[in-house]
């Protein structure tokens, strides 16, 4: 079971594109694109409690697909860097893909009897 969340702030227009990209990647990997948990962050206190560093934020099994490093929680558009260095309002689809793949691999490994947990 892979849990996929998309957190967004309505003041930033990037989440529809991020959701579309995310669902495309999920479908490519055989995951149900409709199982994305979509949550709106509406206040600064909510951003703090959710450790929300900007919109959109995508988490797979609770882990951000891009390390937010030490960015503070904020109601803002999030700055991403594509793998070629360009700034973008949405994460590189390859980063989303890799996060989903890692979660799938972990889930598959966990489901196999005799898999080492050490």
């Amino acid at each position: 079971m892979v849990r996929v969340e998309l957190l967004f702030w309505a003041g930033c227009p990037s989440h529809p594109q991020a959701l579309a990209d995310l669902r495309t990647r999920m479908a490519l990997l055989g995951l149900d694109p409709d199982r994305v948990e979509i949550r709106e962050i509406g206040s600064e206190s909510e951003a703090e409690s959710e450790r929300f560093v900007g919109s959109p934020t995508i988490r797979v099994n609770g882990a951000d697909v891009v390390d937010p490093a030490d960015r503070p929680a904020a109601l803002t558009c999030r700055v991403y860097h594509r793998r070629d260095g360009r700034v973008s309002p949405t994460p590189d689809p390859a980063d989303v893909h890799d996060a989903l793949m890692a979660a799938l691999a972990a889930a598959t490994g966990a489901a196999q009897p005799g898999t080492s947990r050490s």
Binding site: C77, V79, R86, S88
Partner: protein, 180 residues
């Protein structure tokens, strides 16, 4: 301190005049020359950052044709410290604004007067300070090959004495961060 004249602009109407300081304190005003591009932008918004190089390239490519590009940061730096005057100055000193004065609209009066919506939000003014284009730089911040097509098309039209087509597009980006 900004000074403002006139009312909120629309395409075909005279844009508000203003006087704003850049990061070194030199005051700039719109108008004069063959055309002026007024672009509301900032430091923290991914849309503004993604389109930034294309805007600076336009400034370089059109400078010898009498076009000036003025970048204005109107965001509330108290809530968004990345948009402080110090942070603006750091970007200018790093060479990020080659040929483009980066103006501080700390009072937010100019953004209000222009009814600026987003960063970026672009206005192209003719020599009489009439708005000839308002909107986005081009159709996709993630596609550098578009090369600021809407902005360049608008400038080419103004320089040729024609009306831009399109004359208006929807500005796309982060909302202006107004004071509360």
């Amino acid at each position: 301190m900004a000074t403002i004249e006139d009312a909120a602009p629309a395409v075909g109407r005279t844009a508000p005049d203003f006087s704003l300081p850049d990061t070194e304190g030199t005051v700039h005003e719109p108008g004069g020359g063959a055309a002026t591009v007024v672009v509301f932008t900032c430091n923290h918004c991914p849309y503004a950052l993604a389109w930034h190089a294309r805007i600076v390239a336009v400034a370089g490519d059109y400078a010898d044709r009498g076009v000036r590009v003025l970048a204005i940061n109107s965001n509330d730096a108290a809530r968004y410290p990345d948009d402080s005057l110090e942070a603006m100055r750091a970007r200018v000193q790093s060479g990020d604004f080659e040929g483009v004065p980066y103006l501080s609209d700390a009072s937010q009066q100019v953004a209000h007067a222009y009814d600026a919506k987003t960063t970026p939000d672009v206005f192209v003014l003719d020599p009489d300070r009439v708005v000839r284009y308002r909107g986005a730089v081009d159709a996709d911040q993630d596609n550098p090959s578009l090369n600021a097509a809407w902005l360049r098309s608008a400038l080419d039209a103004v320089l040729a004495g024609r009306n831009p087509e399109p004359a208006e597009t929807a500005p796309v980006g982060c909302t202006i961060k107004w004071r509360r």
